[in-house]
């Protein structure tokens, strides 16, 4: 085995007295994929940020190729040979794909940017990932999946020896995940050392040569041969929560709450008809970009439908804006927590009461006592950490931000809750909590629309599944012992079975 390229020993990091990492060791060899595992808040991101110089360390050493290093920041780390692709794509949507890939490293000629060389280079780099697209198009027009691949292409351009992938697959559909894993395999064969952070245990088991597990900022251990069940147990420090058996029989609900007929929007979703019943979960399944989110946005009035109508309790409703939808008892948790969910700068308390306060209008403020009561109850109910109502929402981990968003809507006691990828990028424990919550809410009579890229998850919580393909609702199946294979087959056949 070749000498290790990276060795981190005894890493310790505190933030204002809170220990984020405590005596953590980590090593990485060339030509391997080493997975870093742990729940949200376990310290994975902090460890990566220490490695790439975003944070300094309070104790411990980092050896890169045998030399002690302390990168001054991500740019310095990249120059030193450690490239990182972050979970949330941090690129410029207004610039072209090619510009994004080579931003800051544009090929130059006569002191000016050599545009044709820039585009050629970008095409080459994307070809390495087996992607071909118009590199002159603005990045913002691409799907999140493609943006992720562009971010990886950008990282590859540098002469990287260590590639850090932080949750790269959380936005990808199965085909794209396979493609990415393929890219990782070929990079590994070329001798690249890959640090892979992912919540998807199957993916990790499929590709990782070695796994390091963190829990609460401490090292649990390094493993090479381990089963999924053992791995989860190490991550959460107890046995796997019972995810199975969450629901018994198919519930047909207690009467129709919302009825969409021929609802559609050009270029977004083809006209569809759906019925949503009280006390049941409608799952939306389909590949990434199949129109799941777009459908949900129409139901919430976030986008305007240009055909069809919506009836709530058999009364026609014009969903002109989210505001109208909220007043009709509809709630929507967007898949983009950062851009469409939280107000990062406001506190947890303010974020939680936002929708409720907005519905009351500015002239009827909730008293501070009332706010504190509601927020304290939400924090307890959803186990939001830190349990500090005055913490800045942007400082929370992804899973806790998701819970804040959920709390915002739950306190409005909606009749219909639309959850778009509520478990994306959050850990197993929180995932199980959210699924259980959905089951509880529907038991209380709420209707839920549940969107997830993970078919198993959709099937676990849903009573009925609407399958989307290419922006069409191709089938609506009662979830009577459906399997992921059934859904895949439906997607593949376009519902013509």
């Amino acid at each position: 085995m070749p000498a290790e390229i990276l060795r981190m020993t005894g890493i310790r990091k505190e933030f204002a007295g809170v220990v984020a990492l405590d005596d953590v060791d980590f090593r990485l060899f060339p030509g391997e994929v080493h997975a870093l595992m742990g729940e949200n808040g376990a310290g994975k991101s902090t460890l990566i940020k220490v490695l790439t110089g975003v944070h300094g360390v309070d104790a411990g050493t980092v050896l890169f190729a045998g030399e002690p290093v302390s990168f001054a920041g991500p740019a310095a780390a990249q120059r030193g040979g450690v490239s990182t692709v972050y979970q949330e794509v941090n690129l410029c949507p207004n610039l072209s794909v090619a510009e994004n890939i080579l931003l800051g490293r544009e090929p130059r000629r006569f002191g000016r940017i050599h545009w044709s060389a820039l585009r050629r280079r970008a095409v080459e780099l994307l070809a390495r990932l087996e992607v071909s697209l118009d590199v002159s198009a603005p990045l913002g027009q691409q799907s999140i999946a493609v943006q992720q691949l562009v971010a990886i292409a950008r990282a590859l351009d540098v002469d990287a020896r260590v590639l850090v992938l932080d949750e790269p697959t959380s936005s990808l559909d199965p085909g794209e995940v396979e493609r990415l894993l393929g890219v990782m395999r070929s990079l590994r064969a070329q001798g690249m050392a890959i640090l892979f952070v992912s919540h998807f245990i199957d993916q990790v088991l499929a590709i990782a040569d070695r796994m390091t597990v963190l829990r609460n900022g401490k090292l649990v251990g390094e493993y090479t041969d381990i089963t999924a069940r053992e791995l989860v147990a190490k991550m959460i420090g107890k046995d796997l929560p019972v995810l199975e058996g969450l629901r018994g029989e198919v519930r047909h609900g207690e009467g129709t709450l919302m009825q969409a007929s021929d609802l559609g929007r050009k270029g977004s979703v083809a006209p569809f008809s759906l019925e949503i019943s009280r006390g049941s979960v409608l799952g939306l399944a389909g590949l990434l970009g199949s129109g799941r989110t777009e459908l949900a946005r129409l139901l919430f009035g976030a986008d305007h439908a240009d055909s069809g109508e919506v009836r709530i309790d058999d009364t026609p409703v014009a969903l002109r804006s989210p505001r109208v939808a909220v007043s009709k008892g509809i709630a929507f948790c967007s898949e983009n927590r950062k851009t469409e969910g939280l107000i990062q700068d406001l506190t947890v308390r303010e974020n939680i009461i936002l929708a409720m306060q907005a519905a009351r209008g500015w002239t009827r403020p909730l008293s501070r006592r009332r706010q504190d009561e509601i927020v304290a109850r939400s924090i307890e109910l959803l186990d939001i950490r830190p349990a500090d109502p005055e913490a800045r929402a942007g400082d929370l981990s992804g899973g806790n931000q998701q819970k804040v968003l959920l709390a915002r809507w739950l306190i409005t006691e909606p009749k219909l809750l639309i959850l778009d990828e509520p478990t994306r990028g959050i850990d197993v424990g929180a995932k199980a909590e959210i699924q259980r919550l959905v089951a509880e809410l529907t038991a209380d009579g709420m209707a839920v629309v549940f969107i997830s890229a993970e078919l198993e998850e959709v099937l676990r919580v849903s009573d009925k599944v609407a399958v989307l393909r290419d922006r069409h609702v191709v089938a609506q199946l009662a979830n009577d012992s459906l399997t992921p294979d059934d859904i895949m087959a439906t997607i593949a056949d376009g519902g013509e079975r």
């Binding site: 505001r323 107000i343 406001l346 936002l354 519905a359």
Partner: protein, 349 residues
């Protein structure tokens, strides 16, 4: 965290420190600086002057704070100042008896109504038509000057009414009325914003417009309201400014006041990108700017270097407010300072 550390971390610490430092500097240069005299039943002194002549700026900056908190900007406040003053002075000058209280109040009412209307126009352009704030308000900034000159017919309208002069120059219970007006504006708007949900909703809209829309916030109405409020503040400031000189000058009244107001807001710690705002910070910022002008006279700085002097002080305040700058500075003096969490900072001049 000990008290000192918490004090330093407070968002108003650096602007307040700069203001205190500047005042102390003045005191050293001229020991009589802090003296407040009691003459003919009125308060006089440099500190009183700062408050008194800073009052219009405080007003305009308060309005600007809310607009900036929504992520917008209002460049037209200077023009509104001019229009408001022009209309009021024109009305007073046409009165049979310029000293009539009713007539003066009528003039004030008309000027304020017009200012509200102008603010509403800005708000309509920005929130309903979706024109970019800087462009939408630029229209009135340019057109408003012309409007003010139309009202004054290109002349400077001079008036003699004593009631009107009291707005900027009068005293109530020894205290200059303009200070009381600014104080009331600060108090009322702070209460209105923090006791209702207005402040939080504005901060939500400014912090993340799309997320706020999806949370059901009526952003359009809120944004509109901030421009109306900004127009109102500028209108009252216009009354004060014209009252101070008992005349209306469509050309020069309130010239460049929008820039001072924006600066005051930024010094006060409200980001130009919107979100969190602080009226207290804005008042400190406005006072800092006014103190600077006074300092120039106290220190006997030659008038031709005045603007440069102002720029240097403002730059220093902005730098010291930036956590990034402080971090770099601290690193240089002490190598092993732990890196503070990233924070977005705007240093704007």
């Amino acid at each position: 965290m000990n008290t000192y550390a918490r004090l330093v971390k407070h968002r108003l610490f650096w602007p307040a420190a700069a203001l205190v430092l500047l005042l102390l500097g003045n005191f050293v240069a001229s020991p009589r600086f802090f003296a407040v005299q009691f003459r003919e039943g009125h308060l006089y002194g440099s500190l009183i002057d700062i408050l008194r002549f800073g009052a219009p700026l405080i007003l305009v900056a308060l309005g600007m704070t809310l607009v900036i908190a929504t992520g917008g900007i209002d460049l037209s406040v200077g023009s509104v100042v001019a229009i408001s003053g022009a209309v009021a002075c024109l009305w007073v000058s046409r009165l049979g008896d310029q000293n009539s209280l009713g007539g003066t109040l009528g003039a004030v009412g008309i000027a304020i109504a017009l200012s509200l209307l102008l603010g509403a126009c800005n708000g309509f352009l920005v929130s309903v038509l979706g024109v970019q704030p800087i462009v939408g308000t630029l229209i009135l900034m340019v057109a408003g000057r012309g409007l003010a000159q139309l009202i004054t017919d290109g002349q400077i309208i001079t008036i003699t009414g004593t009631h009107y002069r009291d707005i900027g120059g009068g005293f109530v219970a020894t205290v200059p009325l303009s200070i009381l007006i600014a104080l009331a504006a600060f108090g009322i708007s702070s209460l209105a914003v923090r006791k209702s949900a207005l402040g939080m909703l504005i901060e939500a809209v400014g912090g993340n417009p799309e997320a706020s829309r999806l949370a059901g916030v009526a952003s359009r109405r809120l944004i509109w309201l901030t421009y109306v409020f900004c127009g109102l503040c500028a209108g009252v400031a216009g009354l004060m400014i014209s009252s101070n000189v008992s005349s209306a000058d469509g050309n020069n009244a309130g010239l460049w006041i929008e820039l001072d107001a924006i600066l005051a807001v930024v010094i006060g710690g409200t980001r130009l990108t919107g979100g969190r705002f602080s009226f207290g910070g804005t008042v400190i910022g406005a006072l800092l700017i006014q103190t600077l002008s006074t300092t120039v006279y106290t220190l006997g700085i030659p008038p031709e270097t005045t603007l440069l002097f102002k720029a240097v002080v403002v730059l220093a305040v902005c730098l010291v407010q930036s956590p990034q700058f402080r971090r770099k500075f601290a690193r240089r003096s002490r190598r092993s300072v732990p890196v503070v969490k990233d924070e977005k900072v705007e240093v704007t001049l």
